[in-house]
Amino acid sequence: MNKELQLIQHLYGEREEHFALRETLETSEALHDEYQALSEAKFYLDHRRRQRPDAAILDQIMAAATHVSESSAQPSLVKGRLDRLARPHRAHRKRRALSLVSLSLVVVCAMSVGLWQWTSSSTPIPQTASTETYQSALPPSATDGLASTMPQQASDEVLPSWEDDQVMELHKRIDRLQQRATALQWDEPATPLEMVPALTSRSPATARLQQATQRRR
């Protein structure tokens, strides 16, 4: 950097440390005259009146700054993309729908199973010869105990599983016995054969029984 430029730096307080102004000015009269001219011009520039903008301009700038600051503080469209609440994802909706459907199916299946069990347990058991033989073969005391305990056991026990057919048959027999036990007590007078609907059929055994009844009368 030449000495003229170093004078400018020195004049504005930005001189380099190794620059010696006095020695430079003493060695060259031209530099001395130039430094004097530069100093004079700078003096007038330093004492110029500083200019300011109109007050209304400042008010408008502050209004704009306030508006922008308040807008940036509120969630905007741009910020909304970053700060908005998370929307449920499409996959999440699908999962929810599937879970609802499967839950409904399970409920329907359970209701169907329960309904089937209920209907199968309430179906009237037809009178068979084997049932009558079983009933007649049992002593009164055993039947009585059976009548008192088996129905309770039948009602208290858990329903048999689907695969246990023999258990199911046993429970059916118990239900039949219960019906007969509740309908007829051992100490009650015998019901005439004519009153028993099952015995009104024209079977040979039925006819002989009817004849025996008439003779006794």
Binding site: Y12, E40, Y44, R48, R52, Q60, I61, A65, S69, E70
Partner: protein, 202 residues
């Protein structure tokens, strides 16, 4: 304790402190407006450019992807915005010629050494009558010399900051300042002592 520019900016951006921003504006209003007024030489236009400059400043500071990184001097960054606003205006009026970067730092272009030849008789006469003699002399300087002078005396930028802002070397910035002072001195020598006394009292 005097708050630094960076602290005022932080208070405004992070806490919405309007008073901090107003302090920042009032602290630097003369530096920025003085430069703009010296460049466009019209007070109404300078007011408009001043407002536009600060609107751009506000937008750039609020925008997280803006150019302000809070590293370095805030005034230098703000002056870049002001300068761009002034040059855009001058280019639109075809009153600014972009100068190519100088290859040799010590060489200045021919017209950098000469006063502005464009006669502005009406403005100069008006200003002379109003006592703005010194302003008239500054107006006569070549654009680059006038700009360096304004950036140093109005905006208080260092020559290194001026060099970065005007995209030239520090030697070029110093050289332009030297010729601006010498040209002003020549113009002052051509006037009477009465005008010199008026300028000194301004």
């Amino acid at each position: 304790m005097l708050l630094t520019d960076e602290k005022l900016v932080t208070a405004y951006l992070e806490h919405g402190d309007q008073r901090a921003f107003r302090m920042l504006v009032e602290r630097h209003q003369e530096r920025i407006f003085g430069y703009l007024l010296g460049m466009v030489r019209n007070r109404d236009i300078a007011n408009d450019l001043f407002q536009e400059t600060f609107l751009r400043i506000i937008a750039a500071m609020q925008n997280r992807r803006g150019s302000y990184t809070q590293q370095g001097r805030w005034l230098g960054w703000a002056m870049r915005i002001a300068r761009n606003a002034a040059l855009d205006h001058l280019r639109s009026r075809k009153k600014w010629q972009d100068v190519a970067p100088q290859g040799d730092d010590d060489e200045l272009s021919f017209w950098d050494r000469l006063p502005d030849g464009e006669p502005r008789a009406d403005l100069q006469l008006h200003r002379l009558e109003q006592g703005d003699w010194l302003e008239a002399c500054i107006d006569r300087l070549p654009p680059e010399q006038r700009e360096v002078l304004l950036l140093r005396h109005e905006s208080d930028l260092t020559f290194r900051e001026i060099a970065e802002l005007t995209d030239c070397s520090i030697n070029t910035a110093l050289g332009r300042m030297r010729y601006a002072l010498l040209n002003l001195r020549k113009m002052m020598k051509g006037t009477s002592r009465e005008h010199l006394a008026k300028a000194g009292s301004l």
